[in-house]
Symmetry: C2
Subunit: 332 residues, 2 copies
Amino acid sequence: MGDAKTVRVPARDLPVPSYLSPIAQTILANPSYDGGPAAFPDQDDREGWRAHIRMAEAGLMPMLQQISPSSPAEVIERDLDGLCVFDVTPEDLPAGSGGVVLDLHGGGLFLCGGELCRLMAIGIATRLKTKVWSPDYRMPPDHPYPAALDDAMTAYRALLEQYDPSRIVVHGASAGGNLAAALILRARDEGLAMPAGAILQTPEADLTESGDSFHVNLGVDPGLAPLMPVNLLYANGHDLTDPYLSPLFGDFTKGFPPTILTTGTRDLFLSNTVRMHRALRAADIPAELHVVEAAGHGNFSGAPEGDEIDKEIRHFLESVLSQKTVTGGEGS
Amino acid sequence: MGDAKTVRVPARDLPVPSYLSPIAQTILANPSYDGGPAAFPDQDDREGWRAHIRMAEAGLMPMLQQISPSSPAEVIERDLDGLCVFDVTPEDLPAGSGGVVLDLHGGGLFLCGGELCRLMAIGIATRLKTKVWSPDYRMPPDHPYPAALDDAMTAYRALLEQYDPSRIVVHGASAGGNLAAALILRARDEGLAMPAGAILQTPEADLTESGDSFHVNLGVDPGLAPLMPVNLLYANGHDLTDPYLSPLFGDFTKGFPPTILTTGTRDLFLSNTVRMHRALRAADIPAELHVVEAAGHGNFSGAPEGDEIDKEIRHFLESVLSQKTVTGGEGS
């Protein structure tokens, strides 16, 4: 097999399902991406990439700023030898919840550092009702692979000095899901203790973009374009199929913690997510999958449909953090 | 919201993913349905429906006959006051596996009775390594709703006389998933004991066909067409939103057993399946979801990708059947 056989699918008009929440309907009715060619700078045009990033982040900032966190949170900026980590503690943190989530932020592996990282960390901490560490990891064009993963490792090593690994859960959405899974594979390969669990939300598990949904959901996902130029910028010549760049291709039989994965039926990363789920299950890793009806990349975050997923993740967090008692020190 | 806003998706060529098994690639490369209008007889044309059914079943028979069961099985034809039930026991049934699967066969609620039902029951029993009861339930045009569900209830009541409910798991694929879920809702409403679990494979949970994948995966699914004319024939004037006809709309807070659900990313019933999963989870019912990459309706059954799903279902069966010890009699 493996021939060039394709199946032609005619154009169609997709109605916005009337049974979705009003917020979810609004998201689908106002797509920001139509499936056409997305414009990115040339690979070597560093100033072009910097300008692209500035413009994209300027567009994202007001969206993140207008999302009021569901509760107040204290944010400490930790300095790990030059790596800034946002250490977020929600004020309404339940007593006795001595876990911490290491969050790797999303943004295509090239966006959402600094203030955007801080805002997203607050959002995750308050939605999931957990303490969060979110490293403001380095990114291209100036810091391609392996800088971001190195920084994630730095943060994980620092957490291991303060927490028993059974109290640590790694979280990542989108590009953060790539880094979260890659971090766990690399930590395992380097002999570090495994965290208690992994939360992979619509993870960018495959930088080669080989999944079927890159075709089926192209332009069906209301917001996400293929990102190959960005992936190549990030990889900086490294093999995209290396499991540290595309964790989907990792060997999970060597160990991986219990994992929860989330996606939507219109998600461009639907295949990334379900293939990652199947790869984990093929290695007998406990892994649960949640798919949001009609949601694109982002799982209707902020809508009631997204709140349901947050509830599943909180349930998962409670479950994996209750598996073992704390044996090591537990820092502030 | 709820306005008529639609999103236009252009025509596209879907490649057959090269990382799929050869069998799965062959299935995708040879679609039997292209997304165009499917021809069905007029609602009142009973002879037309009978001819349609004969032709469709004649096409299905050789496919089922050529699938050799993975192991021999003994088949007893039980007669429950005129309802034939195929009682299938695989010869390699593991010792001590005292459970039974009540299977409601697929076939759009109008196909696959008789010999086709018998062959499918053998297939399920040998693949899942379990004893199976499969009622050859009545179907339209001569026996519309509620005949099939009545027959399913007859079989379930008969099983309850021989097995503790903790040893019974209800299974259905496609239309059988509709009947399996509807049976459980009706049994619950009538005060019968709940089975230990439910296996819903790409279930036809919503006869109104409101799900988003009825649009997104139209012609993307290589084999399944929308079935509204059949649904109306089956309903025979009954409200399609009645939970006994569309179990997706049931109230699961009143009780439902642990459930495993399976589908594929190209499945026309992807939305049926993930919405059913979310409805169960919203009611805090233990429910796990497995989605096969690029699979249409049928989950690549017979391919290695389908074998993985069978393994998940066997795992689920072992799990729910180990929850309680047998308290009642356990028949042959």
